[in-house]
């Protein structure tokens, strides 16, 4: 399961923005909304005749496979880094 999301943005003016997002606390804070989203997703699965548990299982596996993902984009003097650990 992902632990930390890191976002780093380097602006052309030289300003550097770093954001560290601890995933678990954020998930806990957003849990009421996540439960609501899960309910909506379950209804959507039923409407489109997709097996609900299989869909949630695949979503969970995707979420758990995220650690190690890293995107680093440099364009001129602008740079963006997104890293999931």
């Amino acid at each position: 399961m992902p632990q930390l999301l890191t976002v780093r943005v380097q602006r052309p003016q030289g300003r550097l923005i770093r954001i560290w997002v601890p995933v678990l606390p954020v998930v806990l804070v957003l849990s009421p909304f996540l439960i609501l989203a899960a309910l909506v997703a379950a209804v959507a699965c039923l409407v489109y005749r997709v097996r609900v548990m299989r869909a949630f299982g695949t979503g969970w596996r995707l979420f758990c496979a995220l650690p190690g993902t890293r995107f680093d984009v440099h364009e001129g003097r602008t740079a963006v880094l997104v890293s999931i650990r």
Partner: protein
């Protein structure tokens, strides 16, 4: 574990040789074996963990670079999404593909085939050299 080493350990387990003799035999075996090459070409199959995409480009005279690293585990989980696509969506996609001149039947594409594709990705290295861009896709 190679066969010779296994034979030595079997002999040790059966009491035919002493631990000291087994150690000497294994040491001799390691001496006789050629050293592993350091190149990435001899990387054991199936050991790759990440898919790397590296792009170096020059746009309007400014250098650009994209480095992306995606865990193969994420790709394996992602291909399972294919099993969740509703049949009506597949039918619509097939119709659009045919209309665009690509007669490809997506319903024939099974998740097992996609998984096999991901399993063999670690043997793939793609390099594109262009005057304005250099692209490299590989697994490590």
């Amino acid at each position: 574990m190679n066969e010779q080493r296994k034979d030595i350990l079997d002999m040790l387990a059966e009491g035919k040789i002493t631990p000291d003799e087994a150690e000497r035999l294994i040491a001799a075996l390691e001496r006789d074996q050629p050293p592993m090459a350091a190149s990435s070409e001899v990387r054991p199959k199936g050991k790759a963990k990440y898919l790397y995409l590296m792009v170096d480009s020059i746009d309007n005279g400014e250098p650009g670079r994209v480095n992306a690293r995606v865990p193969l585990q994420l790709l394996r989980a992602g291909v399972q999404l294919a099993a969740l696509i509703p049949p009506q969506a597949l039918a619509q996609a097939n119709a659009e593909l045919s209309r665009s001149g690509v007669p490809f039947d997506l319903t024939q594409l099974k998740p097992e085939q996609l998984e096999a594709l991901v399993e063999h990705l670690d043997e793939v290295t793609l390099e594109v050299d262009h005057p304005d861009a250099k692209i490299r896709v590989f697994c490590e």
